[in-house]
Amino acid sequence: MSEVVETHAGHDDHDHHGPDKGLARWLFTTNHKDIGTLYLWFSFAMFLIGGMMALVIRAELFEPGLQFVAPEFFNQMTTNHGLIMVFGAVMPAFVGLANWLIPMMVGAPDMALPRMNNLSFWILPFAFGIMISTLFMEGGGPNFGWTFYAPLSTTYAPDSVTYFIFAVHLMGASSIMGSINVIATILNMRAPGMTLMKMPLFVWTWLITAYLLLAVMPVLAGVVTMMLFDIHFGTSFFNAAGGGDPVMFQHIFWFFGHPEVYIMILPAFGVVSQIIPTFARKPLFGYDSMVYAVASIAFLSFIVWAHHMFTVGMPLAGQLFFMYATMLIAVPTGVKVFNWISTMWRGSMTFETPMLFAIAFVILFTIGGFSGLMLAITPADYQYHDTYFVVAHFHYVLVPGAIFSIIAAVYYWLPKWCGRMYDETLGKIHFWLSFIGVNVTFFPQHFSGLAGMPRRIPDYALQFADFNMLSSIGAFIFGFSQVFFMFVVIHAITRGKKATDRVWDGAHGLEWTLPSPAPYHSFTHPPKVSDAEAHS
């Protein structure tokens, strides 16, 4: 194993198959790059579908009164928008990035378990096919919010909830297999010399995310299974008449749900930690502390879940514990933001599109973090709970947080994937449209929320009209600028200028030692990891 082979392993004379032809390539592939591509396009399709649902919501809320959709349908839109964005858009996008990048970053020939990798992906189109089909079923699709609180999702649920439950089971199976693959790849497939503390931060954040997934996706499977039993087999887990408790649903759900939000943000931290050093032309400030901060955030994520439940009633000691534990997360998060800023400090900065998205991430995610701190304060949460302030908070961490990081990653690594550069002007237009759109959409929601506008309603009191109209205008700007994003990407793939191997002059890491586009099989033999390519 100690033999050192040239890094351009794609030119070895071992039996290297290229990709299959036609549809078979995508259906049967075991190649991490193909599977990564499938994940990314799938998640983009879900992003557009979930986005259309968001636009239905924003169109209805453009003015007070009911104009376009019935309240029942509005509820189905809020529910499915949330579910599709979380499970269909953000999570698969990060798995797609993991597939493309982790083997190249650690110098592995592929993911550790390639066939299972294919299965993890192909479960998803079936799962979301089931999920979306519920909208066309008698009685309508899930209408109980993406958090599917019992008894709304059990006693009072439409019949389609059964299919929703099984769709969640399938997604869970996919995520569990995906994270097993990530863990086995990172722990077992690193090239000699790629020690743990030399791994790129994207790899670190994904390793920790994979553990979060393994710990909480089965709990989600458990809670939907209990729902299924309550609905079809006469149990009373979430029914107080039988000695159960609807609040128990919330506890189990949020034991999954809070780590879930870190599942959607830790890989984003990783992406940003790769991009900022490249364009600041300085090594990442405080690499070790970044690793420890991510690990602490992951640990804390298991002991804060009840901050979603302050108003359902819980013992005072519980409220205090969950409040302080939640606020504690600000410490490692603060370390990360400090390190990103310190990395940029006195760097020779340039502002290519990936960097713009990364900087916007740091600023806007921090805003979302601060509103999270406000929500963590129990007495204040009594006022904010279930208002648009909450909507503003989590959209700030998810849209200019998670999604901006995914977009940044696409611009940053696309030249490595397809061998061609995107058009910088088009990229910048996309950035500014997105940046303006996202802020016009979500910033006013802080104000309507603080003024008392409840979330998840199709109609509202007149005093919220201006904020909502602004929000809707922003949402349409943001939505259509993502269609423009698709155009920019396709334009790059088909007519972009040829990219160099290194692509960015400040880029470090094994993936940049490969040709652009990266060969179908890379690192069939482990590469030599030089200090220049390790993080420091």
Binding site: M1, E3, H14, D15, H17, D20, A24, F28, T29, T30, N31, P109, D110, A112, L113, R115, L119, W122, I123, G129, D159, Y163, I165, F166, H169, L170, A173, I176, I180, I183, A184, N188, M189, L214, A215, V216, M217, P218, V219, G222, V223, M226, H232, G234, T235, S236, F237, N239, A240, A241, G242, G243, G244, D245, M248, H251, I252, F255, L316, H521
Partner: protein, 307 residues
């Protein structure tokens, strides 16, 4: 080319395969078939299992080919030591995810016992709900009278342990099952030792005994359920006690069934002479899984039956 294929320095990456996507298709047919069955029955219909079984068949047949292929590749020397370590990591963390699946149900049991039932009985900060809605409910565990006993008829008798003195004559089934499963964990370990000592007769004997013990466990588990349904009036709809009892023991029983099935396959592989001292991952994975269901049972025995 042939030499290059068996080069142990190369991590074997299969070129492509039809199995995974077909497994996904089978899984989809299975769950939607089950879903439509359930919804049909709930709506008063008879329900049909056809789609479920179609999906299950597709899934099972494809998995058979998939695993056969992996075994074949291994026998050709394609799986190097590193790939085998990937299998070990994969199986290990899969078992961890199963632990978390059970943790959700154990969590439900603890929450119901410690908080929900006592609050309904009038203790703590949420006592008003119980007092206002069901003033007659008194908290106890096992819950024999539910808050709304017309909606959820409480059990006549619970499964709670009658005390160690009464475990033996007549035998207390959960205790017998504990003995059976613990013994099977030991015998599967003996089988593993037999592989290490290259003693195929012993391997087959100990593995066979493990299987007998495993299936005996399942037999008595079914007996217990029949007893509970027919004589104790303890059903899925007996309220929170029945709910937690059946979901925990039921999913455990399901996992024992899976484990026994996997071990059965290892048994047939042992008959064919598949295992070598340094090359027996399939057997090892099955035995880890078996130890895992054993540990879950010990937790069940303590928290569901004794305490």
């Amino acid at each position: 080319m042939a030499n290059a294929k068996a080069d142990p320095s190369i991590y074997f990456v299969p070129h492509n395969g039809w199995y995974p996507v077909v497994v996904a298709l089978g899984a989809m047919l299975m769950v939607t078939g089950f879903g439509s069955y359930l919804n049909d029955v709930k709506g008063g219909g008879d329900g049909s299992w056809v789609q479920f079984y179609t999906g299950l068949t597709i899934l099972a047949v494809t998995l058979f080919f998939w695993f056969a292929k992996v075994i074949e590749e291994n026998s050709q020397g394609l799986a190097n030591a590193q790939l085998k370590r990937s299998y070990v990591w994969g199986m290990g963390w899969f078992i961890f995810s199963e632990v978390m699946f059970f943790a959700a149900f154990f969590g439900a049991l603890f929450y119901a016992r410690v908080f929900a039932v006592s609050w309904l009985g009038g203790e703590g900060g949420k006592a008003m709900t119980g007092d206002y809605l069901w003033p007659d409910f008194s908290a106890e565990w096992p819950v024999m009278q539910n808050p709304d006993n017309a909606l959820f008829q409480g059990p006549d008798q619970s499964m709670a342990s009658p005390g160690i003195a009464n475990w033996f004559a007549p035998v207390y089934l959960p205790f017998l099952n504990t003995v059976l499963l613990l013994a099977s964990s030991v015998t599967v370990h003996f089988a593993h030792t037999a592989i290490k000592n290259q003693d195929r007769t012993k391997l087959i004997t100990w593995l066979g005994i493990t299987l007998v013990l495993g299936f005996a466990f399942l037999f008595f588990q079914v007996e217990e359920y029949i007893h509970a349904y027919q004589e104790l009036g303890l059903t899925l709809s007996s309220g929170i006690y029945g709910s937690t009892f059946y979901i925990l023991t039921g999913f455990h029983g399901f996992h024992v069934t899976m484990g026994a099935f996997i071990l059965t396959i290892q048994f047939f592989r042992a008959l064919k002479g598949h295992f070598k001292p340094d090359d027996c991952f399939g057997f090892e994975a099955a035995s880890w899984y078996w130890h895992f269901v054993d540990v879950v049972w010990v937790c069940l025995f303590i928290f569901v039956y004794i305490l």
